[in-house]
């Protein structure tokens, strides 16, 4: 991985007893990128994040922050990193200002004015112990604490979990602001894709501990399509297999009226050829949202079926 990678993992494997949480995962977050790691709950995202943050030692492989081993250089790497955890974990008795005061002393530099402005924007009440805040307020406060030292790298573990739409919007505005003002590199994990799609530059999908996809969002969106068509000649499985071969179909459903397929290697020319194929009728194509792509790759829970 190049030096311009602020966060990377190489062949990372994490085990919990007999269970494998991450299996040989390799990915790299380049400077200035916004990397979204998607995966269902239990897919291994949190384990990866813990290793990336130097909080857990991988069973094999390694995690790097700013090009150095995350486990060994954790404390130093954290001077340039802001982390918002999945679960709020600040000491429950501390108030907003006490927390800011505590965090301020830990870093070589701290953006006091910006933090104050942020807290006002978020509307986190002063004088209230952390434990008594609502989940949304906790999340926003922790985000403010994470952004206080103007970090080069921002890591968000499932930031939208449990947030109402208002809080979510505030979160994304804040992230966009960070990107605009400082070009902060962002790594976030989520299984809730609302709003991420417009911000992410690169996407990874973790399924059962394996990284089944690691790609720039633009090219990903470019090659995934939904193709629908009727097939008059025959409705056997074998028959449609060949005509979709070129597209590397990911999911194919046979309906009464025809075939409904998700393909991962879409190409205009190939699609034209499909349309000319004997027996193919009314071939149409539509683009897919990131959510649909994720569903197609990560799959439903155990077994297909149900509405497409």
């Amino acid at each position: 991985m190049s030096e311009d990678s602020l966060l990377s993992v190489e062949n990372l494997t994490v085990r919990y007893g007999p269970k494998i949480a991450c299996d040989g995962v390799s990915l790299s977050v380049a400077r200035g990128a916004v990397y979204a790691l998607l995966g269902r709950n239990g897919a291994g995202k949190s384990s990866l994040v813990h290793c990336a943050l130097g909080q857990r030692k991988p069973d094999s492989g390694r995690a790097l922050l700013f090009g150095e081993d995350a486990w060994r250089t954790r404390a130093r790497a954290m001077t340039r990193t802001g982390v918002e955890p999945e679960e709020p974990d600040a000491p429950p008795a501390m108030t907003r200002d006490a927390l800011v005061d505590f965090c301020r002393r830990l870093y070589p530099s701290w953006d006091s004015a910006g933090t104050r402005a942020r807290l006002d924007r978020f509307g986190v009440p002063a004088g209230v112990p952390f434990g008594a805040l609502s989940k949304g307020q906790k999340g926003m406060l922790q985000l403010a604490l994470a952004l206080g030292p103007a970090p080069q790298l921002l890591i968000l573990d499932d930031p939208t979990l449990g947030l109402d739409p208002v809080a979510r919007k505030a979160l994304f505005e804040e992230i966009v602001g960070e990107l605009a003002d400082r070009g902060t590199t962002i790594f976030l994990t989520t299984h809730d894709l609302g709003g991420i799609e417009a911000i992410a530059t690169r996407v990874g999908i973790l399924k059962d501990g394996r990284l089944v996809l690691d790609e720039d969002l633009e090219t990903l969106k470019g090659r995934f399509r939904r193709i629908r068509y009727g097939n008059r000649l025959t409705e056997t499985r074998e028959a449609f297999g060949t005509e979709l071969d070129a597209f590397e179909a990911v999911k194919v459903k046979v309906r009464g009226w025809g075939i409904d397929a998700v393909v991962s290697n879409f190409d205009d020319g190939a699609f034209e050829r499909l349309r000319q194929t004997n027996g193919v009728e009314d071939a149409s194509t539509s683009s897919m949202s990131l959510e649909e792509i994720f569903l197609a790759i990560a799959g439903e829970a155990a077994g297909e079926g149900g509405a497409a």
Partner: protein
């Protein structure tokens, strides 16, 4: 450092309720005396003791509770993320959290203590505490916090490693216990304290480094934390056990040159002498060959006392016997063959639960007699089996005894007004003869002649000296009767004559009597207290005189035939001064040439009064 300070501040903030609880507790010492209706000094005393107890108790419990929960609970739940995702090193986190717990415990202690202290006017009537107690007060909560933190890591991890921790702990404890027993048997309280301190320090160090490593290496995984902690804990335990072992080894490997000499008992014949005293903090004894310097560790301390049970010798000085402690409360009889080429100890199989009053070895060295607790037992050295056992008294009087030949043993019960003598026929296993000498007045001492047929009894500070027949118990003669003396010693010479040595401010003399008790001669000696020695040659008797201070003694040689006395040395007195009760000492034996050298330090010296030759056997050492 400022990170640590920030975390400490956070901890104090988070747990400030503890101080509120302390404030409540501070009221208790004031309320209880009131409730009990005490007033004045007793109320104040009650309040102060209660304040002390509540302070110590509250602070200790708080320290333990905080140490238990401060880090490990969050670590086990993976909730240290708040700190770990910030530039806080594991060490700073550990120091901050546990340091905060420590300070909180101290603050709580102050909150509880100070009101009572102020009410007492800033002083306390509690018993004087040692100088280091101030440090102990400050350090104790820290120790508790560190230990509680380490313990909670091992227990919260719910890992099988805990079994290994326990195994190592039990092993170390077992080793230390076993070693401590060795020191306990020798009343080595000083080394035990030192060893205990070493163990405590090592274990604390292990818990401390382990607890730190648990945080720096465990981070979010309690099992890794435990895995990082355990080896350091084991090192601490092992180190402590080894340190204790080193202390024990150091104590047990003391030699005669380390001895602060308490006393010496020479063999009746031959160059061996049993010495005893303190060496390296423990009661220690040796059998030393004054001719070659070879030595053997021999003897044991009577439990819970500073009483040393040293070896007894056979009449020819070729065999010594003593008891060694063997676990539990048992003692085993051990013998040694003494010769010019050395000595070798041999265990008999004989064990007893209580040490006897007196131990005697038969002339051939094959039998050992034990008297005590109203019984006499004769043991066969080779097999360790009892050859004879007789109960002589239902009570537990003072007893002594000596062999008359290998088959006859004379046991004496030292009653307050009577001397009971028993002659035991060993092969027949019965009391062959029993005699009682009645009518003894006051504190008395006695001595037997070489045949065991006669006994000399000195009563009441020398007011009366009589000769008795052992067979009948009747008085044969009254040698003297007169005023009390400052010191008086009566003993048989090997030829049956009797020496009576008295000393005091009003006059001092050495009187010689025939075997029948008729006065033969009286030699005047300088007016002081006297101590008898032995015959360095037939008719040449050594004795010492001293005023009040035993460190200023003068040694004299008396020619019993001519009646002359000659001053031969200063600062020496005979080792034999006490050993006059039983069999007389053979003239010219090495025992008669052994003396204590006095001064600041008591040493053992071999001195020939006839030639003036002097050789130091033991230089001696100051106690402690």
């Amino acid at each position: 450092m400022k990170t640590v300070a920030a975390i400490v501040r956070t901890e104090l903030l988070e747990r400030r309720m503890a101080l509120a609880a302390a404030a409540f507790a501070a009221v208790m010492p004031f309320l209880v005396p009131l409730a009990r209706g005490l007033h004045g000094a007793s109320a104040r005393e009650a309040r102060e003791s209660l304040a002390f107890i509540v302070t110590a108790g509250f602070a200790s419990v708080l320290a333990l509770a905080l140490g238990w929960s401060a880090i490990s609970r969050d670590l086990a739940d993976g909730r240290l993320g708040f700190y770990l995702s910030r530039p806080i090193s594991g060490a700073a986190l550990w120091a901050g959290k546990l340091g905060g717990a420590w300070i909180l415990a101290l603050a709580a202690a102050a909150v509880v203590w100070i009101p009572s202290w102020i009410a007492s006017g800033g002083r306390t009537v509690l018993v004087d505490l040692p100088r280091w107690s101030g440090w102990a007060v400050l350090a104790a909560p820290a120790v508790l916090v560190v230990l509680a933190h380490a313990a909670s890591i091992t227990l919260r991890s719910r890992s099988a490693l805990l079994l290994l921790d326990l195994a190592v702990l039990l092993l170390a404890a077992g080793v230390i216990f076993w070693l401590a027993r060795l020191l306990l048997w020798r009343s080595a309280w000083g080394p035990l304290r030192v060893g205990g301190a070493v163990v405590a320090a090592a274990v604390l160090l292990g818990a401390l480094t382990g607890g730190l490593a648990a945080v720096t290496r465990g981070r979010s995984d309690i099992r890794s934390a435990h895995r990082a902690l355990s080896p350091r804990l084991w090192s601490g335990l092992a180190g402590g056990a080894m340190g204790f072992g080193a202390v024990t080894l150091w104590v047990l490997s003391a030699g005669p040159s380390d001895l602060s000499l308490d006393g010496a008992v020479p063999a009746p014949r031959g160059s061996w002498v049993a010495v005893a005293g303190g060496a390296r903090g423990a009661l220690t004894g040796f059998l030393i060959d004054t001719a070659s310097g070879r030595y053997l560790r021999a003897g044991s301390a009577r439990p819970q006392t500073k009483w040393w049970e040293g070896p007894s010798f056979s009449a020819d000085g070729a065999t010594a016997a003593w008891f060694e402690p063997r676990g539990g409360a048992a003692f085993e009889l051990v013998t040694a063959s003494l010769s010019a080429t050395g000595a070798a100890a041999r265990r008999t199989a004989f064990e007893t639960m209580s040490l006897p009053d007196d131990l005697a070895v038969s002339p051939d060295g094959k039998r050992v007699a034990l008297v005590g607790s109203g019984r006499v037992e004769v043991v066969d050295v080779a097999t360790g089996r009892l050859l004879a056992a007789e109960r002589l008294s239902a009570t537990y009087p003072t007893m002594v005894g000596a062999f008359l030949g290998s088959d006859r043993f004379l046991a004496a019960i030292w009653g307050s007004d009577r001397l009971e003598l028993f002659e035991l026929d060993v092969p027949a296993r019965r009391i062959a003869r029993r005699t009682t000498i009645l009518g003894l007045e006051g504190w008395y001492t006695f001595a037997f002649d070489a045949s065991g047929e006669r006994v000399l009894v000195r009563e009441r500070s020398g007011r009366r000296l009589r000769l008795f027949d052992v067979r009948t118990g009747n008085a044969i003669a009254t040698l003297t009767e007169g005023p009390a003396q400052n010191s008086s010693w009566a003993l048989f010479l090997s030829d049956g004559r009797i020496v009576y040595l008295t000393g005091g401010d009003n006059g001092a003399s050495l009187r010689l009597f025939s075997a029948d008790g008729r006065p033969e001669r009286s030699i005047e000696i300088p007016r002081r207290r006297a101590l008898p020695g032995g015959e360095v040659a037939p008719g040449k008797f050594v004795f010492a005189i001293w005023s009040g201070d035993i460190s200023e003694t003068v040694l004299y040689l008396a020619d019993l035939d001519s009646g002359d006395i000659r001053r031969v040395a200063d600062g020496l007195y005979p080792v034999l001064w006490f050993a006059t009760r039983l069999a007389p000492v053979v003239p010219g034996s090495d025992a008669t040439e052994l003396f204590y050298s006095t001064g600041d330090i008591r040493g053992l010296v071999r001195f020939d009064p006839l030639t003036g030759e002097r050789r130091v056997i033991l230089k001696g050492r100051k106690e402690g």
